[in-house]
Amino acid sequence: MIRVILPAHLRTLAAIDNEVALEVNGRPTQRSVLDALELRYPTLRGTIRDHETQKRRPFLRFFACEEDLSHEPPDAPLPDAVVSGQEPFLIIGSVAGG
């Protein structure tokens, strides 16, 4: 189970109270986790990644385990602690956005 924590406004948009737990097939990557997230909450399509290019929106960051994963390739495997559910995958509004 992958744990994902979203910024407050996206939680409101998707009507999520707390963090999200997602089942991901195969070795989880940023792409597969975000695909699973958007499949469960289609309203989030386009809010984290561009609809067409699938690129991360510039004012969002992906953190986990006190590391900035924003510039990791989308198909790179996520850290073990995220895969095991020990640590969440954080989607953060960058300070440049607010």
Partner: protein, 352 residues
């Protein structure tokens, strides 16, 4: 200010940049430093005199080519590019010495009354630059505090979003002083730099005590910034931009709480200044004369000031173009101007 008649100011234009102006007669007349009013703006051989607007980052080998890149809006690395000056801070002792905090964050100074500017490059050169990032307003060096007890020695500066830095040698070398700050928008919330400090303030008689409005959290340091602790206490929200200290009461502090990072307006549409008389933690709302319904303006970080009169006047400007003044330490307020463009900066001078 050493010479009350010496003033510095500038506009900012997306088209033409900044044209820094100086007045030597208390604001009656203004000129570009080095180019007195009425004089040609070029030398006889045609060279431009506009050096007073020239801010060039130090890339000399002698100073170690300080840094190359910082973090950009999207998290990639990006070279330093000069955009504008955010804040001018005149020296406490020398009318021709002025410090300038600029975007992209760096510290400059002039020693000839604004005719020419040079970078104090030790700040960018100390090594944490790649982890500095822009706040929503850009990556600006917005606060410069000069220690009146150590003139020409100790300087504090603050950058959004890098944090607070201190120099003990007039700006040659610098140290990040952000221990105790916690920011969830950086991968390690307790990192040495990367904190979006919005403003810091100090009482001139007590330069070891600093107050900070951060991008969430009001903080205090009792040891010249070596460590910080939270004093948000009973504030209804601890997001905000300006912070000021009373002219005669070092434990009296003012903030203007703003709803949140993504909602830059007062909570419940009520414009309230909060005052602590206990150096933080216990805050009271000051509302008399301020709009208490349907008010959705912001108060920016450089838009609050105090005068030096016995009763301590407090002043702040809003993004809605009002300037509110209190002649009694904040007990009551009045709009002394109300139809200006968004206000970025409020400065007060007490004439004797």
């Amino acid at each position: 200010m050493v010479d009350p008649n010496r003033l510095y100011a500038s506009q900012s234009s997306g088209w033409f940049g900044q044209i820094i102006q100086r007045s030597d007669d208390g604001g009656k007349t203004w000129h570009q430093p080095g180019t007195p009013a009425g004089e040609p703006t070029t030398t006889p051989d045609g060279s431009p005199k506009g050096e007073s607007n020239k801010f060039v980052y130090d890339t000399s080998v002698k100073t170690g080519k300080p840094l190359t890149t910082h973090q950009w809006y999207d998290g990639t690395q990006h070279p330093w590019e000069f955009k504008r000056v955010w804040h001018l801070e005149p020296s406490l002792t020398d009318p021709d010495l002025v410090y300038a905090g600029v975007e992209d964050a760096a510290l400059f100074c002039t020693r000839d009354g604004g005719k020419t500017w040079g970078e104090l490059s030790g700040l960018r050169g100390h090594g944490t630059g790649p982890n500095w990032a822009p706040g929503a307003g850009g990556m600006g060096l917005h606060t410069i505090l000069l220690d009146p007890k150590d003139p020409g020695g100790r300087i504090y500066i603050a950058i959004s979003a890098a944090g607070v830095f201190r120099s003990s040698d007039a700006g040659k070398t610098w140290k990040p002083i952000n221990r105790g700050l916690k920011s969830n928008y950086i991968p390690d919330p307790n990192a040495e730099v990367g904190h979006c400090v919005h403003r810091i303030a100090m009482h001139p008689t007590r330069p070891n005590v600093l107050y900070m409005q951060k991008h969430w959290d009001v903080m205090r340091s009792d040891n010249a910034g070596e460590s910080w602790y939270e004093v948000s206490g009973n504030l209804p929200t601890d997001f905000g931009f300006p912070i000021e200290v009373h002219a005669h009461e070092p434990e009296t502090v003012y903030v203007v709480p703003i709803k949140s990072d993504s909602e830059h307006y007062p909570l419940d549409g009520k414009l309230r200044v909060y005052r602590s008389r206990t150096g933080g933690n216990e805050w009271e709302a000051l509302t008399k004369g301020l709009p208490q319904r349907d008010c959705y303006v912001n108060v920016l970080r450089d838009a609050m000031a105090v005068d030096a009169l016995d009763s301590c006047g407090v002043y702040f400007g809003t993004t809605g173009g009002q300037v509110y003044a209190s002649a009694n330490s904040g007990d009551s307020w009045e709009a002394i101007v109300h139809d200006l463009p968004p206000i970025f900066s409020v400065e007060v001078q007490t004439l004797k």
